[in-house]
């Protein structure tokens, strides 16, 4: 915009040098803000907490951790993890680029005995794997390998597999179609169970099962798909979590929920998911 010099035609009109005063005002305000926020307040706060001025200013800027007013606590507790699986970008890339054909070959060689060729297991104590989340299979096999989860048959089998083959097997089973595409109507399952799945029980601090276990809900990455799972297997796993024998759920979420479920709730939930509800 051309900067038309205002003509001095009318003396009453206010015609200050806006450029100068506004710059001074705006800069003054922000510099007072910087002076107070980054220098005065942190240094004064730090002095009474025994923190020197430089550290206090660095903390106020966010260069150093901690508050400028309180000495920072440090703690070197030895790590004793529950599950070694770490969802890093390259793990997720391996899962995304897994080779289904190699997976099928390993399945026909090893897994078919119990889990079946297309993921339909042959006995109640072996879980179905058809349509299971690849990440969930990957994590369980990884936990068997590191001993975070113990099972007489699975521990040795898992130890024989390396990282790439685990991803291939997981991708293969994840690709197997689930049979019961239109689950029985909700009418059959008791409303208490549907409510537990959809709303959870806030009073007993139980989050809804669907919040984590429904695919696409944005829940934890390793949460397994429960739809069409064997009900005996679900009941068995919930009991293992309740007793604390199974401990490879990160931060013990299932170990906190399972003991709070009553006997018939466990059976109801197992039947609900057995019927194929998502």
């Amino acid at each position: 915009m051309t900067d038309q010099r205002p003509q001095q035609s009318d003396p009453h009109v206010l015609d200050q040098p806006w450029r100068l005063w506004s710059t001074i005002a705006v800069m003054g305000i922000v510099l007072v803000g910087i002076l107070l926020g980054v220098i005065v307040i942190p240094v004064v706060q730090g002095r009474s907490a025994g923190i020197d001025a430089f550290t206090a200013i660095c903390r106020a800027l966010g260069i150093l951790p901690g508050s400028p007013a309180v000495p920072q606590f440090s703690d070197r507790t030895p790590p004793t993890p529950v599950s070694q699986v770490v969802w890093t970008p390259d793990v997720l890339q391996i899962l995304a680029r897994a080779d289904v054909a190699k997976g099928k070959a390993k399945v026909l060689e090893v897994c078919i005995a119990c889990h079946g060729e297309n993921g339909v297991s042959i006995a109640p104590e072996y879980p179905h794997l058809a349509g299971q989340s690849g990440a969930a299979i990957y994590k369980q096999l990884h936990d068997y390998r590191t001993g975070s989860r113990v099972n007489p048959q699975m521990t040795d089998i898992a130890k024989a597999l390396d990282e790439a083959v685990i991803a291939d097997v997981a991708a293969y089973y994840a690709g197997q179609p689930q049979r019961n595409l239109n689950p029985v109507t909700l009418a059959e399952s008791p409303p208490a169970i549907v409510q537990l799945v959809e709303l959870g029980d806030p009073h007993r601090n139980i989050p809804p099962c669907a919040a984590c276990h429904r695919a696409g809900a944005g829940g934890p990455i390793e949460a397994p798909v429960l739809a069409e799972q064997r009900d005996e297997y679900l009941v068995q796993q919930l009991k293992l979590y309740a007793s604390g024998q199974r401990r490879n759920d990160v931060y013990g979420r299932m170990r906190l929920i399972a003991p709070r479920l009553t006997e018939d709730e466990i059976k109801g939930l197992a039947a609900y998911y057995r019927a194929g509800f998502r």
């Binding site: 205002p6 009109v13 506004s22 710059t23 806030p202």
Partner: protein, 538 residues
Amino acid sequence: MRNAERLCLAHFWVAFGAFLFACVLGAWQMWVRSPLGAKIGTPGEYFMSVTAHGVSMAYVLTTFFIMGFGYFVAVTALNRPLPGQIWAWGAFWMGILGVVLALISIGSGQASVLFTFYPPLTASVWFYIGLVLVVAASWVWCVLMLVAMHAWKVDNPGQPVPLAMFATVANAVMWLWTTVGVAAELLFQVIPASLGLVQTIDVGMSRTLFSWTLHAIVYFWLIPAYIAFYTIAPRAAGGRLYSDTMGRLTFILFLIYSLPVGMHHLLMDPEHGNGTKFIQVLLTAFVAAPTLLTIFTITASMEIAGRLRGGRGVFGWIAALPWERPMVLAIGLAFVMLGFGGFGGIVNMAYGMNAMVHNTSWVTAHFHLIFGGSVVIMYFAIAYEIWPRLTGRDHPSLAPLRIQLWLWFIGMMVMTLPWHWLGLQGQWRRVANFNYADPIIAAWGPWVVVSLVGGLILLVSAILFVRNLVALHRSSVQAIAKPLYALAVHPPRRVPAALNGFGLWNVLVLVLMILAYGFPIAQFVIEPSPAAIVHRLR
């Protein structure tokens, strides 16, 4: 009807259509979270509704209303045809495509990440592409506003730009500045994550970039209401604008001080130091200045009108004001809600005290009172005022208009005042169903029912509003051409160049953004925060 009117009406009808849809959702949410609807609706439905309510109110109602009102001001305040009408219609249809994409992806359940999207939660890519299209449409509008003002200034050298147009262009300039934040977050972080190109996201950076947009966007919504305060209300009340210069100064202060303050939305975030937060808190205190200047200047303008109609004594002018006119009634109600909402705001921004209210119903009450209350009631008043000018028909009677405005005011106050009390008790936000068996939450039950009643009153008012507009379309009363914009007590014959353009202010905004946002963003460029795994809602 001529092309410009059809353009404005198209924008307004899209805006108020989305508004009515969002009001229905809002009322349903109030019912589902109350003790009366404790077991109704699943979290999936609730968060889908909250996302749709947020997107419709915050992106569709606002952007389309502001664009429509901007085109109207550009034609009537500058008294010349709108440049680039093909571009305007193109932008309109691009915005419609964006809205349809966003609402479909929300409806499919793959975009329940709320309208302020919380990475690492990531929705379907169509949700984000839809919002980008709406923002792109608004960018075209900004360019058209700048072109219109420039063309007018070339034809009228040395003349002060009419205040209404000056404010609209200030709004456009501020919007161009502020959308940089959300555009950067979407294009470089969220959309690549949603497409699966990246598996992780820097949450510290994305929250800081979104905060860049998060405050100035609420002033983008608010400025049309202030344009009505300054340029329409004084004439509607039969008075003059007390000071035109203060009007220009207010809109400039909005441009300068609404941009470098976004981090007061991150006061409780761990990823920034106290110093950078304090700087933005101090600048936020100065964001209150233009609003306080406005309430004085507009109250003085109303006082002129009241006294001209025979008001005596210190407050006699208040009763003498023509409260039967919808615009005047709206000003009064808007200022009351602005008072309550403003009080909520200065408590929110108070550095350490934000810990008392952050993410509680106090904050929900604050923005429902200011945006939902004083800004939206002014959207109603603006619509009532300019609809006759757009259609050539007039309201059959003003009574239903006043009833609608009163209902909106009463509904908003009944809904939001309990929220202040609940917020202080710790009622937190975005809860699909409360555990009313818990003693602490049980005590909130009755107040939630009171706010539900307020929500239902608001729904009735919203339906009545759309009915009033439809009634006008079918009315046979001819609209007589009345001038719209108010004259100032001292009409500006010549204003300093600084008050007639935005060159100087853009430089100051650039310096302020560097000083306020420079380090907070640079710290993530120098050393990115440890990446969080993307959680997709596919």
